[in-house]
Symmetry: C2
Subunit: 213 residues, 2 copies
DNA sequence: CGAGTAATTATGCAAGCGTATAATTGAACG
DNA sequence: CGTTCAATTATACGCTTGCATAATTACTCG
């Protein structure tokens, strides 16, 4: 007589956790952290809300896990395409990949916006952000140093760090714009702009290696 | 025996509305639209929640009013400093103002993030956004056209529009970065970067007129 | 194939949400 | 100085929220 109880399949912890994280991210991208309610997340992951508590002691815990996973995925995705024979070619490829799908993506901007204020007010989220951000910037800085060395230029460590920060800012900024206003740019336009801008900052011409994709 | 009722002062509609809008904006900057609850807004504006209903038929109405006011204020603020003898000087001043306080401001980024998803999902908010965005870009495009004419360059209307979009993107992107990571840049560093980047896009040197402030 | 147990569902609770409406009161006016 | 009325407060309602806990059920293992 209690036959109206919902049927279910047992799954491994990792699979369930990942499904919950995925549902959380897609909801945060649309509605922000506050809009990603426990009930909505459960529905999207096709489980009932009680199960969330079984894997994450609190909503905050789930949000933190989702943020960590997302930030790592973004960094990996960006560096995935950064290949080439010369350092200059690798830098150009990295820079172009940063402003090209799938890295540039309206949903990713929604996530960025949805997380921003939450990160600002939460020490543990800040830690994740700082770690990911510095990791990216350090790798970018190393690549820039290599490019300048390749080009036979003198490299002061402090100056190199400042160049990396500036390039990172331009890349991030254009990434945001590209995702926020996808219709504002023609195919490849953002790539041209970012290559020009980073080239201008570093004082070298990146356009000659760009015709690789 | 009912003496514990809260004392209050009657105020003009405009003043009260503005106070409510200000409270709304500061809360959205911190907590997003969902986090800016009617009760919290009322508390910050030092009134009781019922009064909000008296001036705005719905929370959505208040949020829309706040968004409109904020967007207009941002545009005005940016163009306020764009003065100079030559068009080139005005462009340089505008570009620098865009990445300098008070236009660049962590709270403004919080607002941007807080509003983003809400704008995406609300037609009336989208309309306000489009109007403000195109207004800004049109003024920027006119200024760029003037600069190129001043420089004796041929100006195709379509090309000019694309240049404006690109410059706008760089400006917006750096504006976002400057506000999101205020400690990442030294004094004037963002100004240098944006002047270089916009100069690179337009194919001219803006740095020579920059030493004006 | 039957028992055990971890995964999952179901239900409940206190607090907070936006909105509606009734009750008060500050200030302008004759 | 009493009247009047819009500005303001107070209260309440139905719904949603995050979290807790009890009841079930799908697999595993002997």
């Amino acid at each position: 007589m209690t036959g109206d109880r919902r049927k279910f399949r047992r799954e491994g912890a990792d699979q369930r956790k990942e499904a919950l994280v995925r549902a959380t991210l897609s909801l945060i991208a649309e509605e922000g952290v506050r809009g990603a309610t426990v009930r909505a997340i459960a529905e999207r992951a096709e489980v009932t809300q009680g199960l969330i508590r079984h894997y994450f002691s609190t909503k905050e815990e789930l949000v933190l896990a989702a943020y960590t996973q997302h930030m790592n995925a973004m960094t990996d995705q960006t560096f995935a395409g950064a290949e080439g024979a010369t350092a200059k070619a690798r830098l150009a490829a990295l820079v172009v990949a940063s402003v090209t799908p799938p890295v540039v993506d309206p949903a990713a901007i929604g996530l960025w916006a949805g997380f921003l204020n939450h990160v600002r007010q939460n020490a543990r989220m800040q830690e994740v952000h700082a770690r990911t951000y510095h990791d990216f910037r350090d790798r970018l800085e190393a690549l820039i140093a290599e490019v300048l060395r390749e080009d036979g230029r003198a490299i002061d460590a402090g100056a190199c760090r400042r160049l990396a920060i500036a390039c990172n800012a331009v890349i991030d900024g254009l990434w945001l714009e590209g995702g926020a206003l996808p219709e504002a740019f023609e195919e490849g336009e953002l790539a041209t702009i970012v290559v020009q801008s980073v080239g201008a900052i570093l004082g070298l011409n990146l356009t000659d290696v760009e015709a690789r994709q």
